[in-house]
Each structure stands twice: as structure tokens, then as C-alpha cells.
Amino acid sequence: MKSPEMEITIDRNGRVTVHIQGVKGRACLALADAIQAIVGLEESRKLTSEFYDQDGDVRIHGDTRSDTATQVHARSRFPWERS
């Protein structure tokens, strides 16, 4: 696993993009929250697959349709991930 790192870019207008790498689950969430508290307004947050390793928490709901096709919806517990 990659060592825990952050890559921060601040563009010429001051917009900040933070890439958190090598940090899983709740620790990643806490770090993202801390950075938001430091910088200001969060425009978007995308949690990548590594987030769901170990400390992550994902619920799966299964629906069976009348034509026997099964739809599985992966539903994150985090509101900002729901479309």
C-alpha cells in the first residue's frame, strides 16, 4: 500500500484540490474534514475505492424484478455520495 500522502494544488485563482492517498476509511474522512475546516468551502469530494477498504462501511440492497433480472444497488452511508 502506498504510504499516506497528500498532494495539494492551489491554482492561480486560489482553488484548492487535495488528493489524499494511502489513507483508508474513517481516517481519510477525518483528514478531508480537517482540510475543509482549514481552507473553507468544499465544492466536491470524491471517495475512491481505497476508502472502502477495511474501515469503510458499505450497505448493499438487492432488488428482484419481475423478469428475474436482479438489480443490485450499492448505497453508501455517506449522503454526499448518493446521486
Binding site: 498532494e7 485563482n13 486560489g14 489513507v23 483528514l31 482549514i38
Partner: protein, 151 residues
């Protein structure tokens, strides 16, 4: 990778902290501090003026003179940075013989640089407080600042 966050800085600070960011940004863009620091902005004769706001800004009251301003100049363009009645940071760009579009571009570039400087200093202060290790930092050709931090 674990997460990608995109953030817009809120420029909330006391006047001394904000003026540090202003001076840093202005200096990087080739502006020089005018001898009129602290005086209210006055539009000169036949000067064009453009007014801009630093987005998401608030200058925290610290009991100092509310008419505090900072003035920088470059190539005949004079930029005054101050605080409006709502406490937001504003920028007035003055120039003789310059179009509004030209002055607006100068102002927008400076405003962007001020926000960038402010965000940079806030992040670097937090990184040092948390004793994270800055592996690499650089300013790219498009003026983006890139910082790699080991946690």
C-alpha cells in the same frame, strides 16, 4: 488513492494577516508598495477605475481604523486594497489611458493571487502544526502551486 477534494478558500482574517497575503501576491506579480499606504483610495483626474471584490472574504474587526487600505503600483496602474462597509475585502484598480477590460484583468489576476497566497499560508501553517513532512513543492508554469506532503 483515498479521496479527492476540491475546495474554495474562505478569506477570513484580520487586516494584518490579509495585508500580508496582499503584499506577497502583489510582490510576486511585480507590484511595488506605494508610499500612500494607509490613505483612502482617491480616483485621480482622467483615471479609469474598476472595483472588484475578493470572493468569500471577511476582514475581522480588530478595533483598527476602518478606512485602512493598502496601495500597490505597477506600470502606471495603481491598485488599492481595502475593506467595504460589509467587512468584505475589495480591490480598486486605477489607471490613466487604460481600458476597463485591461484594468479588470489586472485586478482579477491580483485577486486570484491574493486568494492563492492566503490559502497557501493557511495550509502550510496547518501542515507545520501537525508536523507533516513537505516532500516537494513547486510553482508550475501556469502559476499553480503544487505541494506533496507525507503524513
Amino acid at each position: 488513492m483515498s479521496a479527492v477534494c476540491i475546495l474554495t478558500p474562505m478569506v477570513v482574517a484580520s487586516w494584518p494577516a490579509l495585508s500580508t497575503a496582499v503584499l506577497g501576491a502583489a510582490s510576486a506579480l511585480g507590484f511595488a508598495l506605494s508610499s500612500q499606504e494607509g490613505a483612502p483610495s482617491r480616483r485621480g483626474h482622467a483615471e479609469t477605475e474598476v472595483e472588484l471584490e475578493v470572493p468569500n472574504s471577511e476582514v475581522i474587526e480588530d478595533g483598527l481604523d476602518p478606512s485602512r487600505t493598502l496601495e500597490v503600483v505597477r506600470d502606471g496602474v495603481r491598485v488599492t486594497v481595502g475593506v467595504d462597509s460589509r467587512g468584505a475585502c475589495r480591490v480598486w484598480v486605477h489607471g490613466q489611458g487604460r481600458s476597463e477590460a485591461e484594468l479588470r484583468q489586472v485586478g482579477e489576476t491580483l485577486v486570484g493571487a491574493i486568494v492563492q497566497q492566503f490559502a497557501y499560508h493557511k495550509l502550510m501553517t496547518a501542515i507545520k502544526e501537525r508536523r507533516y513532512h513537505v516532500v516537494e513543492q513547486a510553482r508550475e508554469e501556469d502559476d499553480t502551486i503544487r505541494i506533496r506532503v507525507r503524513l
